[in-house]
Amino acid sequence: MSAETTIKVPVSVYRFEPGRDSVPHYVDYTLDLAPHTPVLSALLKIRAELDPTLSLRYSCRSAICGSCAMQVNSKSRLACETPVGPEVEKHGKIVIEPMRNQPVLRDLVVDQKPFWTQYERIEPHLKLDPRHPMPEGAPNPMTPEEVERFKETPRCIACAACFSACPAVEADAGFPGPMALAKLYRFVVDPRDQARQNRLVRIQPEGLWLCLRCHLCTEACPKDVRPSERIRDLKEMAIAAQGATEPGSRHAVAFKNNIREAGTLNEMKLARQTYGLAALAKELPQGARIMRKKPEVRKRPHPIDGLDEVEKIYAALDPKERE
C-alpha cells in the first residue's frame, strides 16, 4: 500500500487559563496530515512539536475510555475517532473547543463535576431488597428476552458527549442529562434490581420530563446508546408505574386522551387538561395575546371522518383509559 498523501489541515484551538486569561482565545495552527489522522493525534502533534502548554484530556486512543470528548467544529465528538479529512472537507478548517455545559479548567479540559453529580443522583448501582436476599453464590440467570431489554445502554462509556450536546442541560440544572437517564433505564429494566418502582416514582419530579426529545444526544453519542429513545421508554414506564403526577406526564396523557375525542387536537382543552384550572389562570394573558391573532384556538375542532375507527384502535390498545 502506498503512503497516503498529506493535506494542509488548519486547526483553530480554544485556549483559556482561568486566572491568567480574562477571556478565551483561539490559536491557529496549520499541520500537514494524512486525511485519516484522528483529531486527537493532531492535537498531540501540536503539543509535542508546537506548544507544550496545550492542555487536553485523553487516554486510550481507541474510543473506549471516553476521555477525549470535545467539540470538533461545534459537534461533540471523541477526538480519537474523528478523522481530520472529512472535517476539513466540510468546514475548511477544524475548530476545537472544550465540551459544553461543564466549566473550563484549562484549554480543552473541563470540570466534569456537573456530569458526575447528575449521574450519582440516579444511584447507578444494583439495589437489592434486603428482605429477599439472594442465596449466597446462587446463579442469577437472565433470559435472552431480559437481556434484550437493556437495548444499547450497556455500551455507554460515560464520555459526556451527550451531556455537552444537550440543550436541556444547558438551560436547566434540574435536568439529569441524557447519560444519567439512559443509565437509569438500564437499572429499571434490570430484572435483578429491586428498586424499579421507586426509581420510576422518583424520577418523574426529578427532571425526567425536561427531556425535549430533540435527539441531539443520540446524534452525539459515539457508541449509539440512543439516550433520547430510552428516555421516551422511561416516560412511558413511569406513567405506567405511577400515573401522571407531573406537568409533563399530565401533558402526555392529556394529549393521548384529547385525540381520542375528535381525532384531532383541541388546543384549548389540552391547555386546560395539562395546566389544571389554577395554573391555567396564570397563562390567560399569554393565551389572550395569541387568540387576538389566532381566534381558531378557541374553537372546538371538527371531528375527523372515521372517528369510530380511532375509538376502536384506542379500545384495543389503550384499555386502561376505558371508562
Partner: protein, 294 residues
C-alpha cells in the same frame, strides 16, 4: 405531482396561515394536494410517551389511508414528519406490527409499508427541484438575510428518518438561496426550539427558544423561517417570553417555510396570512419590497 395532504392539527387551527401558504405555493408550482378528512393527529411526540404502540397504530391508520389512494404523503410539520416516519419504521418490528395489526385488521385496515412521508421542504428541493422553483420566482428576496430553523424531528434520529445530513443540513438554505434570499448559517439552526417542554417548564422552554433566536440575530439574520408550526409557536407566539428569558429584545420575524417561498413567487402578505403572526413581519417585508423586481 399529486400527494396526499397531511396538514397536521396546528395548521388547521392556530397555525392556519401555514395551511394558507402551503396551498398557495403548491397551486403555483402545480402540486395537487388531495385532502383526506379522515386523517387523525400524528401524536405530536406526546401521545407515544403515554402509549407508543397506540401512537404507531394511529399513524399506521393514517399511512394506510394514503396507501389505499396510491399516494405519498405531504407533511408541512417537522414533528408530523418525524412521527409518521417513525411509525413506518416501527411497523417493521415484528412484535409492534403484530399488536398494531391486531387492532387495525378487525377494522378492515391494513398497512403494507409503501407510503413515503415527505415534508414540503423535501418535495420542493428534491421532487420539484430548485431550478423549477427558481424559474417561478417573480420577487427574489434579495438582501433578506434568513436563518433557517429546521426543527428536530425533520432531522433526527438521522438513521431512522433517513434524513439528509442531520448535522450539516443544507436543503433549507439551498431553497432560500433559490428564492433570492441570503441564508444565514448559525449553530442554533439544528437545535431545539423548546416547544416540547413549554407545558412542563415554560421558563426553561423559553430560554432554549430564546437562545436560538438570539443566535440567528447575532449572525445577522433579519428573519427566521421554519418548516415546523410547533417551532413557529415557540419562536413567534412565545417570542415575548423568549425575550424575557434571554433578557433582551429580539424583534425577530419568523416565517413558515411556504410563506417565504410564497413571497418570492408573488403571493401577497394577506394570501400568506402574515398578519396572524405575533411578531410583525413588516421589517422583513420592507427589505423585500425595497429590492428590485425580477
Amino acid at each position: 405531482m399529486k400527494l396526499a395532504y397531511y396538514p397536521g392539527c396546528v395548521a388547521q387551527e392556530s397555525g392556519k396561515e401555514l395551511d394558507m401558504a402551503t396551498r398557495w405555493v403548491c397551486r403555483a408550482l402545480g402540486i395537487e394536494l388531495v385532502p383526506f378528512p379522515s386523517f387523525s393527529c400524528c401524536g405530536s411526540g406526546f401521545m407515544d410517551e403515554a402509549n407508543e404502540v397506540l401512537n404507531v397504530a394511529i399513524n399506521a391508520r393514517n399511512l394506510a389511508i394514503a396507501e389505499k389512494a396510491g399516494l405519498d404523503l405531504l407533511t408541512i410539520c417537522s414533528t408530523c414528519t418525524g412521527m409518521l416516519s417513525l411509525a413506518n419504521l416501527r411497523m417493521q418490528d415484528e412484535k409492534v406490527r403484530a399488536r398494531v395489526d391486531g387492532a387495525l385488521k378487525p377494522l378492515g385496515i391494513e398497512y403494507h409499508g409503501t407510503v413515503k412521508v415527505k415534508h414540503l421542504l423535501r418535495v420542493l428541493t428534491e421532487d420539484v427541484g430548485l431550478a423549477a422553483v427558481k424559474a417561478k420566482v417573480v420577487r427574489p428576496l434579495a438582501g433578506l438575510k434568513v436563518g433557517a430553523f429546521y426543527g428536530c424531528h425533520l432531522l433526527r434520529p438521522a438513521d431512522e428518518l433517513q434524513s439528509e445530513s442531520a448535522e450539516e443540513p443544507h436543503a433549507f438554505e439551498d431553497l432560500l438561496a433559490a428564492i433570492g434570499a441570503d441564508p444565514v448559517y448559525y449553530r442554533g439552526r439544528v437545535m431545539c426550539c423548546g416547544f416540547p417542554i413549554q407545558f412542563v417548564k415554560g421558563e426553561t422552554a423559553s430560554r432554549i427558544g430564546g437562545r436560538q433566536i438570539l443566535d440567528a440575530k447575532t449572525h445577522g439574520a433579519d428573519a427566521m423561517a421554519t418548516p415546523c408550526p410547533l417551532c413557529h409557536i415557540s419562536l413567534d407566539a412565545y417570542q415575548n417570553r423568549a425575550e424575557a428569558a434571554v433578557g433582551q429584545r429580539l424583534d425577530m420575524p419568523v416565517f413558515h417555510l411556504p410563506q417565504v417561498v410564497g413571497l418570492a413567487l408573488g403571493a401577497s402578505p394577506e394570501e400568506l396570512g402574515l398578519s396572524r403572526h405575533l411578531v410583525p413581519t413588516d421589517i422583513a417585508l420592507a427589505k423585500v419590497r425595497a429590492a428590485p423586481r425580477a
